[in-house]
């Protein structure tokens, strides 16, 4: 797998590193630079991390699933082992130290260029007008008034895709406003009733998968509970952006995609090009939490730029399109049915999940179209789930991490897809861990055992026990009303994470403190891990207490920050992170570990405060009131 060109030494001693992984704001390039510095025994400032690009970098697939330190770190270690480099005489190891992020100075001085900031010579600014609803089709377009807007260079029309390019960004904005007025569309309702979303999910046509079946089959159901969440938006602070340029039948795309190679393959397929005639280069965008619209906007830019060969075209989505048209984290339903022995011990656990697939990534097996290709007329393809071997999708973390005598896990992955769905940080683990941990608290209460003690009785794994014991001591755990705990090992194979949440809850929920213990194996950069855990936890506070994509029968209606509010500074609770470093264990990713356990801890804290289990997320006043007896 390792490619010698991964790491090269320049005549001046600079070490150039080409990882196939990309910076998403998570600090991965700093962590990988630390690994290279130690492998070669050189100072960190001699290392330059180069952006991933399809003509020069190794194909490391997607930067996703909290796998980068394992995958790219291992490849880089192997590449370094084959290099002869004059090591520094007094090299001090940097793996395990909180070295500052290499990309931060440029960000605080405003000198580091994000993709949105690039301006190439001759660059045009492109905008695409999205249909006015999910089921809309273009029936009429009068291009003349758009061409009359000062600065407009070209109008593109293909199927239901209409776009415009101008020589100035403000002109492109004016042209888009005119374009909206000169298009006529038919429309029809295509979306389910958002007020009965769980009913829709559990009755829509689906592919059924039995993912786990062990122990004796159940003979009765002692406890049955249904959990649900709505669709979640990525809600990155930047709308998605790309630049594309065509030259003599070849295509170059600059993108903040998670996977330069899969995007290249999809663009080549769409435009009928040889792979060698498409080059995709990564340039950093804003924070990326999964499969957002980065790939879609790359398709937009490529489609528009084809009309103006030789000129780079930058497309930036509007906030309204970002919140309305980017793929969503799927809405989900998770049922848990538990059978207890007469003595109160768990005999059988059944977890059953209904969801759209959690991957609609380019070049995934079903070849889902990019948004503009879909609107050109390519048939829609329902998203699918990543294989169980890499953590699954709908059923991610559906297997409880506890020692259970009997277990059944079934998923129902919808065959139709009213709203496009794909991977959002932690995938199904957000709701599955919420459900499992909620039931664990109910079982602990039935058994009249402290919730942490109850979990410890069902956990033999010493690393699992250690995070729970640490979070108990660090939080000063007791069963004061308004405190709750959540635990999971991410993907059942990754980082161990336990969270204690404290909340104030009446009809609204306010999270007042989070204490988190985490074991990611060997820690490469302690502050980097803390930053990822804090960030993942606060994002989960936002999902769990506030977020839900809103829609009517025609379209998504939550298109601005007013309609899709996310966590504010005043709402963000303090977060204390306890790291359990295990230099003897391989590193696991930290980015997604906290999402599920944080949600679960909040739900259990609400239950401890109010005495009701709120099983429909988010924990809004209406969902809390609906849960009250």
């Amino acid at each position: 797998m390792a490619d010698p060109a991964l790491v090269t030494v320049q005549p001046d001693g600079t070490i150039l590193v080409r990882s196939g992984k990309v910076e998403l704001g998570q600090g991965i390039l700093t962590a990988l630079a630390q690994i290279v510095a130690d492998e070669l025994g050189v100072d960190l400032d001699r290392i330059r991390m180069l952006p991933a690009r399809t003509d020069l970098s190794p194909n490391e697939g997607y930067t996703a699933g909290s796998m980068s330190v394992q995958q790219s770190g291992a490849a880089l270690r192997e590449a370094c082992a084959r290099l002869r480099v004059a090591a520094s005489a007094e090299h001090v190891a940097v793996v395990g130290r909180s070295v500052p992020r290499i990309d931060l100075p440029g960000k605080v001085y405003g000198t580091r260029r994000y993709l949105h900031d690039l301006r190439f010579p001759g660059q045009l600014f492109g905008r695409v007008l999205r249909p006015p609803s999910r089921g809309a089709h273009l029936t009429d377009l009068d291009e003349a008034p758009v061409r009359d807007v000062a600065g407009v260079v070209a109008v593109v029309h293909s199927g239901d895709v209409v776009g415009v390019m101008a020589d100035r960004e403000d002109a492109a904005g004016r042209a888009l406003a005119v374009l909206e007025k000169v298009t006529t569309w038919t429309t029809s309702p295509t979306l389910p009733d958002e007020h009965h979303l769980a009913d829709y999910l559990t009755s829509a046509p689906a592919d059924d998968h039995v993912l786990h079946n062990s122990g004796d089959p159940p003979t009765a159901t002692t406890l049955l509970a249904r959990f649900s969440r709505g669709y979640l938006a990525h809600a990155s602070i930047a709308p998605s952006c790309a630049i594309a340029q065509w030259d003599n039948g070849t295509l170059t795309v600059w993108s903040h995609t998670q996977g330069v190679y899969p995007l290249r393959a999809e663009l080549a397929r769409w435009f009928g090009l040889a792979l060698a005639d498409v080059r995709v280069e990564h340039v950093e965008g804003a924070g990326c939490y999964g499969h957002n619209a980065a790939d879609d906007v790359a398709g937009d830019a490529a489609l528009l730029a084809r009309a103006v060969p030789g000129r780079p075209v930058q497309v930036v989505w509007s906030r309204q399109d970002e919140l309305g048209w980017a793929p969503f984290g799927p809405a989900m339903v998770t049922d848990v049915a538990v059978e207890l022995h007469a003595e109160g011990m768990i005999r059988h656990w059944r977890q059953e999940i209904w969801s759209n697939g959690h991957s609609g990534r380019p070049s995934s097996p079903a070849n889902p179209p990019l948004l503009a290709a879909l609107h050109e007329g390519r048939p829609a393809v329902a998203s699918t789930d990543p294989p169980v071997q890499v953590g699954g999708g709908s059923a991610r973390n559906a297997v409880p991490g506890y020692d259970l005598p009997g277990l059944t896990v079934v998923s129902h992955v919808l065959r139709e897809m009213p709203l496009r769905t794909s991977a959002l940080r932690s995938l199904g683990a957000h709701l599955n861990v919420y459900a499992i941990e909620s039931i664990m608290d109910e079982l602990a209460e039935r058994a009249a055992v402290d919730p942490i003690e109850y979990r410890l009785r069902l956990l033999a794994d010493p690393r699992a026990r250690a995070v729970l014991e640490r979070v108990a001591s660090a939080s000063g755990w007791d069963t004061t009303p308004g405190r709750g705990v959540g635990y999971a090992r991410y993907k059942n194979t990754g980082a161990y994470c336990a969270v204690v949440a404290e909340v104030e809850a009446v009809t609204t929920v306010r999270v007042t403190r989070l204490t988190i213990a985490v074991d990611v194996g060997q820690v490469v950069n302690p502050d980097g891990v803390r930053n990822q855990i804090e960030g993942g936890a606060l994002q989960s506070v936002s999902w769990t207490t506030k977020e839900q994509v809103r829609f009517d029968r025609h379209d998504v209606t939550s298109r601005t920050w007013t309609d899709y509010p996310i966590l504010t500074f005043s709402e963000a609770p303090p977060v204390q992170v306890e790291l359990i470093d295990r230099p003897e264990c391989p590193s696991s990713g930290a980015g997604e570990a906290a999402g599920g356990p944080t949600a679960a801890a909040i739900g259990n804290a609400v239950r401890a405060a109010l005495g009701v289990s709120v099983r429909a997320l988010p924990l809004t006043p209406s969902n809390i009131i609906a849960a009250m007896p």
Partner: protein, 148 residues
Amino acid sequence: MRITVNGAEHALDCQPDTPLLSVLRNDLGLTAAKFGCGLGLCGACTVLVDGEPIHACDTPLWSVEGRRIVTLEGLGDPAHPHPLQTAFIAEQAMQCGYCVAGIIVTAAALLDREPDLDDAKVRAALDGNLCRCGAHNRIVRAILSCHG
């Protein structure tokens, strides 16, 4: 039209309704202030006009003619950093950093006008600035470290 940005006066040949953010980023090459929502709801585009934070995305150029504009680039540079810039590095107070230009500019105005800052006041002052990566607490720590 003439505007003064980071101490330098610029003559611009733009339509008067052009958003200030577009002028800064496209005509003056000052790309620290970011486009986030276009509606003044996320704070990524925040700059100072006569010392007050405003949203450059929905501020037309005509409304700031002759006024004194300061962007993140004008607060400091590596040779002469603003204390907030130093503090944000010291606290590693971001992940992606896309929201940070608007936050540092907002915080600079806060430090200038508010002699008596605490955690709650900093958070309240930043409620118009959204951060999706969850760096909120680091950012608040960095700002408080510059106070007094």
